[in-house]
Amino acid sequence: MFSFDKSSRSISGLCSGLMFAVLPAFALAESAGHYGYGSPATEEQIQAWDIDIRPDGQGLPEGSGSVEEGMGIYETYCSSCHGAFGEGMGRYPKLSGGEGSLTEDRPEKTIGSYWPYASTLWDYIHRAMPFFAPQSLTDDQVYALTAYVLNLNYIVDGDFVANKDTLPQVKMPNEDGFIWEDPRPEVTNVRCMEDCKDEVTVSDSAADKNLTPSTTGPLDEGLTE
């Protein structure tokens, strides 16, 4: 009824043929460590895709934008989510405020209070904002928005003009607040097996908090706040 035999014979024939043809050449390529696959990236291709900006300004393009120019662009493209003053609408991120709050019970990590580098702002607005249309702004618009958002955070004056020379010189208030080295493991537990503590008390319970969506049935769209 089935024709396993016929097909398997032809498949194995095919395979052994391939083995002979491919193996020696492959071994050679691997030992050379160079395969030559793909095509060389052209200067034009690299320029179009290489959009990252570093704190030292590497990557910043020509062009410029002022705080004043930024205000109008911000109102058009950004304020609906981030608020007119960067205060954040709903759960959209705040872009300003929170200065001095990092040690408080409820810290607000914003561009002004937390971000270590101004270059990151240019880079991020350019690559990812506005949220619904990323990479749609011109370089001048991004400079202007960067200037404006920095001004919202009292980091630059109202006459600031951002360009590839001025932006790397902006020192962010919290630049020195970061330690760029992982101190972990920083918490030490010991592997005690018996009588490890005297008392066990439950300090908090998730019961009756009514924050947990259902884990049975269809997706639970309730509990939005």
Binding site: D52, R54, P213
Partner: protein
């Protein structure tokens, strides 16, 4: 042959008709009208498949009954050309917490760990984290560019990439914000939502070391920038030492092409490091001499400490374990022997041991590890427990091959405070009540 089939279909239809007699009269009328019965010839078994669950309470299928599926034919091959789980498993899905994020486009979904039976997360259940939604990428049009401090910058098509020698490795991926809602207290009463931002798969792809050798890295190259092709153009800086160690550009997940949610057609897999570094929809790798200080490594994915300073470049996922059964979704089923089971993992290597406590951490017993135990992979553990029906506090504690012991929440908070969001790998406590129900508590 055809005649035989027809006879068979007739038989199936007869059984279906007979079964329908057991339905309440209105259901039966609907069944007959639906045409399932008359179409039975075309469906073989399909009619019964649709019928049996509806019989539900009306009929049992276990002994002494001979189940209907034993007295009929099942669905033919390629009824599901791409197989899907049984409809009875419909609750086993990724889920989200609507109040957590502004928008589903920049959000998280959680793996149903309470239902997962091994160390491999099925591809459709792998947790999701998108920053600008899941793009729909045509692999024919997708390119990976490798450039920067290299001798020969190149552009690779997906076919080009798959011509390189590939490796397969089983690694977990965990979002560093897994459990991050619980620093200030117990909020969520569910394993899925508490710990479901970890998943594990077999990844197949090309070693970064192979690709970097191909382009001829210059000696000043100390860092690598990985960038995604999604609307977030997600970027992370990765030190070259790690990049050359065990990082791969993966194109397959559990033997098939990556799922779109996991970066189709290609993603980075950075074993043991926080999920955000495993850049999905990878489009660009740049070699440089300094880190780029991107938004995802400054504003986000840095840990704010109680003194107001922040720790950056905290990439490793420290060892963690959790009991997956019992858990809030899977209560203890009754007095007597109970298999306590769970998962443990470490971003620094292999799991060495897991201990379990049933009295809130006063006394501990070493659990059994279930093979395979692999580096930077989920590892199963289990311990038999004779439950006498009295309230209990269950915990698990992993020790990894570096000797690191998973900390208590108190120990972790004493150092990290409650505002670091990320890297909450503390011991989880499940409170077992007399009725076997399970609650997320903190001690």
């Amino acid at each position: 042959m055809l005649g035989k089939l027809r006879r068979l279909n007739q038989a199936v239809s007869e059984i279906a008709l007979k079964e329908s007699e057991r339905l309440p009269s209105n259901e039966r009328r609907r069944f007959l009208r639906s045409g399932l019965f008359t179409a039975g010839g075309a469906m073989v078994g399909g009619a019964l498949g649709g019928l049996s669950p509806r019989l539900g309470a009306a009929q049992t299928q276990y002994p002494p009954e001979i189940p209907s599926w034993t007295r009929s034919l099942g669905a033919g091959v390629v009824s599901d050309p791409y197989g899907v789980p049984s409809p009875f498993e419909k609750d086993v899905i990724r889920r989200n917490v609507p109040w957590l994020t502004a928008d589903k486009v920049s959000s998280i979904s959680f793996s149903p760990l309470q239902h997962l039976k091994g160390i491999i997360t099925p591809n459709g259940l792998f947790f999701e984290r998108h920053h600008a939604g899941r793009p729909e990428i045509d692999p024919q049009q997708h390119r990976l560019m490798i450039h920067g401090l290299v001798e020969r910058p190149i552009v690779l098509s997906m076919e080009d990439l798959q011509r390189f020698p590939s490796v397969s490795q089983i690694n977990f991926i965990e979002c560093p914000a897994n459990g991050g809602m619980e620093w200030r207290g117990a909020q969520l009463n569910s394993l899925q939502f508490l710990h479901g931002m970890v998943s594990c798969a077999e990844w197949t792809g090309v070693r970064l070391s192979t690709l970097l050798q191909e382009v001829g890295m210059k000696p000043e190259g100390k860092w690598l920038l990985a960038e995604g092709a999604d609307g977030a153009a997600m970027t992370r800086s990765i030190p070259m030492e790690k990049a050359l160690d065990d990082v791969i550009v993966a194109f397959a997940q559990n033997g098939e092409a990556l799922r779109r949610e996991q970066g189709y057609p290609i993603r980075l897999v950075v074993p043991g490091w926080e999920g955000n570094t495993h850049v999905k929809w990878l489009r660009r790798l740049e070699v440089g001499d300094k880190p780029w200080m991107q938004r995802e490594e400054t504003s986000k994915y840095t840990d704010l400490m109680p003194d107001g300073t922040a720790h950056g470049f905290t990439w490793v996922m420290e060892a963690k374990s959790v009991i997956t059964s019992p858990c809030p979704e899977m209560p203890v089923r009754g007095k007597g022997v109970c298999q306590i089971e769970g998962l443990a993992w470490s971003g620094r290597g292999k799991v060495k041991a897991v201990d379990v406590s049933v009295d809130g951490g006063r006394n501990w017993q070493q659990a059994q590890l279930r093979e395979p135990v692999m580096s930077k992979s989920l590892t199963r553990f289990s311990l038999e427990w004779n439950w006498d029906g009295s309230p209990a506090l269950l915990q698990s504690r992993v020790i990894d091959e570096t000797g690191y012991v998973q900390p208590t929440l108190g120990q972790l908070k004493a150092v990290r405070g409650t505002n670091s969001i990320y890297h909450k790998n503390a011991i989880q406590t499940w409170q077992i009540s007399g009725d076997g129900s399970v609650t997320n508590v903190q001690l």
